[in-house]
């Protein structure tokens, strides 16, 4: 054993790459699940995605970009592909049977996961810089989540007598059901970066300057919250509205001009967007699908039921923004 470490050596770095490899493996399992059911396009999509997750640090960015576009085309094409049905009904009946025997034991891992995630995160933050390995403080929550997910999964597999491979397949099936929308947050983040690089914010802010009292800091932060809600109603998706409103109002007016706290602004602002989601028929999954599912005649019944919660909460959120952003 060589105990002497030369001073020039950097401490080993822990980053998220192992988590990305695990994710890639999960995507690989999804691909196998698809191939087994003759979903060739879908399977290729997941396989490409998995490959990209592992190889991204080593490939030239132009190649990654090209492969991202290619996998989006695959996802698009796979949309029309129909997979052989699985035995969902049977599984449900079996689940009801098993849950009788297992009962509260099923609840323990569900509670342990978030608790362990937060615990590991807090420990990592506390020991940052004082241990034999280095890591970025920003990575701490996700390192915590990855470790907690693995530890709790293995413990649950032992306690509930399930093979870990079986649970990977179950997870893969859920992922396959969600399909390409799983990529949306990531693509919207990429879109946000391109907007930032292209100067969309400045171009929008120029139009605001003449018509809006930009020198009032409370008016600016209120504008941020209300625009999040309105643009979300227009787009049907708060994630898509966020990069636009951040670029147009959040960064130039609230952060740069009035020195507001960008973190509080973004967190509460996103939730203003969610108030918009409650009020728009474009958020079909939440507002239109239940109408069909619950056999309701009035297409807008769910939106009508939600509108006063949404408006009160939006008012409250704008109040929170005014109080908290300029602490």
């Amino acid at each position: 054993m060589n105990a002497v470490v030369p001073a020039a050596n950097l401490p080993p770095t822990v980053n998220l790459e192992p988590a990305f490899v695990l994710l890639a493996l999960l995507f690989g399992v999804v691909a196998i699940v698809c191939f087994q059911r003759k979903g060739w396009l879908r399977g290729t999509f997941w396989l490409t995605l998995g490959g990209l997750f592992i190889s991204a640090p080593y490939l030239p960015p132009v190649w990654i970009g090209a492969l991202v576009l290619l996998s989006s085309v695959l996802a698009f094409a796979a949309n029309s592909e129909r997979l052989a049905d699985s035995d969902a009904k049977q599984q449900e009946a079996r689940a009801a049977e098993r849950s009788l025997a297992l009962g509260a034991r099923l609840l323990k891992p569900a509670i342990a996961l978030p608790l362990l995630t937060v615990a590991i995160t807090l420990v990592l933050r506390a020991v940052h810089g004082q241990v034999g390995f280095s890591f970025a403080l920003n990575d701490a929550p996700l390192i915590g989540l990855s470790l907690a997910a693995i530890i709790v999964l293995l413990a649950a597999c032992v306690d509930l007598k399930v093979a870990p491979g079986q649970s990977a397949i179950l997870g893969a099936r859920v992922l396959n059901q969600i399909g390409w929308p799983v990529l949306l947050p990531m693509l919207l983040a990429i879109l946000g970066a391109i907007y930032a690089k292209s100067g969309v914010g400045d171009a929008l802010a120029v139009h605001l300057n003449g018509v809006f009292p930009t020198d009032n800091r409370y008016a600016c932060v209120a504008l941020f919250g209300v625009s999040m809600a309105l643009l979300t109603m227009l787009l049907g998706n708060a994630f898509a509205a966020f990069p636009v409103v951040l670029a147009a109002v959040g960064i130039p007016l609230v952060v740069n001009l009035h020195h507001g706290d960008p973190i509080v602004m973004s967190a509460v602002g996103m939730l203003c967007g969610y108030c918009g989601t409650l009020m728009t028929p474009l958020a079909a999954n939440f507002n239109l699908v239940p109408v069909v599912l619950l056999d309701i005649e009035d297409r807008n019944a769910v939106i009508k039921a939600q509108i006063s919660t949404a408006l009160w909460l939006l008012t409250g959120n704008v109040g929170l923004l005014c109080m908290l952003v300029y602490r």
Partner: protein, 214 residues
């Protein structure tokens, strides 16, 4: 030409309900092109950002655990617990569903509820029988109003619970987008600032449940 046409592509595409994947990529390519970025540089920009934003997907690592618990009947267990409660007034049915759903979402268990999984098979029947105890036989319009309110209760509890979980997509998206402007934000910090709104949402919606009349 102004880069704002790229934003217009996003807005029009989403409003016309074109596949979001296609809309987002078209908007990205248009905006970059209008800003004078060469096609190769644009591909590289997409590639770099894909590489640096992979962390947005790490939350998917909990899926095997969640899927396993669900296949073993976690949902059915919670259904039994809810259904076995003695006092079943409409207010208590809706409030307890709301709180369980919001707290579970805040723990990252967003798929425990939902319209197909629990609103239709669990919440609506419980709410209907509780409402009939109070108002007698219900008219069709009343039943529909009740169903819509049940669906809305699920939505509100989900939306304003999930943001509290530090590995939820929105939290990570905020982290990634702020970074483009040189602002370092910690996921834990972002998710903590979702708590005041979560409490506010619970207060507002629970008051509405209390005042709900058919």
């Amino acid at each position: 030409m102004s880069v704002l046409w790229g934003v217009a592509v996003l807005i029009v595409g989403m409003m016309l309900r074109v596949n979001p994947l296609a809309v987002v990529l078209t908007s990205a390519l248009t905006t970059g092109w209008l800003a004078g970025i060469t096609p190769l540089a644009l591909l590289a920009l997409i590639g770099e950002n894909f590489r640096d934003k992979r962390f947005l997907m790490v939350f998917l690592l909990v899926l095997p655990l969640v899927a396993t618990l669900e296949s073993l009947g976690l949902r059915e267990y919670l259904k039994r617990v809810m259904a076995a409660r003695r006092e079943t007034t409409l207010v208590s049915v809706l409030s307890s569903y709301f709180l369980v759903r919001q707290i579970a979402s805040a723990c990252g268990l967003t798929s425990l509820g939902g319209h197909p999984q629990s609103v239709r098979p669990l919440l609506v029947p419980l709410a209907e029988s509780a409402a009939m105890q109070r108002w007698g036989v219900l008219k069709k319009a009343q039943i529909e109003k009740l169903k819509a309110f049940c669906a809305g209760t699920d939505n509100v509890a989900l939306f304003f619970g999930e943001d509290v979980f530090l590995a939820f997509g929105a939290v990570l998206l905020i982290q990634a987008t702020l970074k483009d402007y040189g602002i370092e934000a910690e996921a834990l910090n972002i998710s903590l600032w979702a708590i005041p709104t979560a409490i506010l949402a619970a207060v507002i919606h629970l008051i509405r449940i209390r005042r709900f009349k058919l």
